[in-house]
């Protein structure tokens, strides 16, 4: 695997970023849902 460093860095950031963003969204959504339940 030539230039493995760059390939891993590229895939790592992009896929990792997608995962982190999905996680952050899920957490924000859960927070919002709970806040709405409390308010209701």
């Amino acid at each position: 695997m030539t230039d493995a460093g760059y390939v891993i860095a590229a895939y790592g950031v992009i896929l990792g970023g997608l995962g982190l963003y999905a996680l952050a969204l899920w957490r924000r959504l859960r927070g919002a849902a709970r806040r709405d339940d409390d308010a209701a």
Binding site: L15, G17, Y21
Partner: protein, 241 residues
């Protein structure tokens, strides 16, 4: 529930496409394995443009129908669009360094256009954060989103020319990989990655829309509660004189 299925399918698709791109498809003769970075890079760039297209259309929807749900779509598109723009730029730099020896290729029209895209839509997101009235925020964001969307083709066009009006695509430029001469395997892998990423994009958009929708509704509920509260407590009816 349906979103969860979309999420699982998207995850599977991305894993499969990555596996194919990293292991299955052969490396490029002269670029070597670095060429594998092209797949997520191009996929991210495509999704960045798609996101900002959605934001522009949603902006038009708001200006026309004055329904805040359009604004929820617009902000989702912009936020996810900025993320994919950053991924595209990162991918472009990671790919450029090993193959062309430089992180930033000024000749590549797509890279410079994508960088401008990032600046335009970071401005869009900042502008939204600085406005608190939901309606004015939606209107202002819709217009800036529209002008940015109109500006993108001009930017791409001018950078394309800038690279040299009469110069054909040089061997070293990434375009070579996309043209029909590229081996079928590459094109197949790229399409697979595009499909997988688009599924992931769709999942994230739906989640972000749901979040934006909840936040707008909570804001709206707060505003209505404030009004009901004002209307319910007795207004002092001392005599007019």
């Amino acid at each position: 529930m349906k979103t969860r299925i979309l999420g699982v399918v998207a995850l599977a698709a991305v894993i499969a496409a990555t596996f194919v791109a990293l292991v299955v498809v052969p490396p490029d003769q002269n670029q070597g394995d670095a060429q594998r970075i092209m797949y997520p890079h191009v996929a991210s760039a495509w999704l960045a443009y798609l996101s900002f297209g959605v934001t522009a259309l949603a902006g038009i929807g708001w200006l026309w129908k004055r329904d805040l749900r359009f604004d929820a779509v617009a902000v989702s598109g912009a936020e996810i669009g900025v993320m994919f723009t950053a991924f595209a730029i990162w991918g472009g730099m990671m790919w450029g360094r090993p193959v062309w020896g430089v992180f930033w290729q000024w000749e590549d029209p797509r890279l410079t256009t994508t960088a401008l895209l990032l600046a335009l839509y970071v401005g869009y997101l900042l502008l939204r954060r600085l406005t608190d009235d939901p309606e004015r925020r939606a209107t202002r964001a819709a217009i800036v989103g529209l002008v940015a969307a109109v500006d993108i083709p001009i930017v791409h066009f001018s950078v394309e020319w800038w690279r040299g009006l009469h110069q054909t695509a040089t061997i070293a430029s990434p375009d070579r990989v996309l043209n029909p001469a590229a081996p079928m395997a590459f094109v197949g892998t790229l399409l697979g990655m595009l499909a997988a990423f688009t599924l992931a994009w769709a999942y994230l958009m739906v989640r972000r829309y749901q979040l934006a929708r909840r936040e707008l509704e909570r804001e709206e509920r707060g505003r209505i509660e404030r009004i009901v509260e004002a209307r319910s407590n007795p207004v002092p009816s001392e005599a007019l004189r």
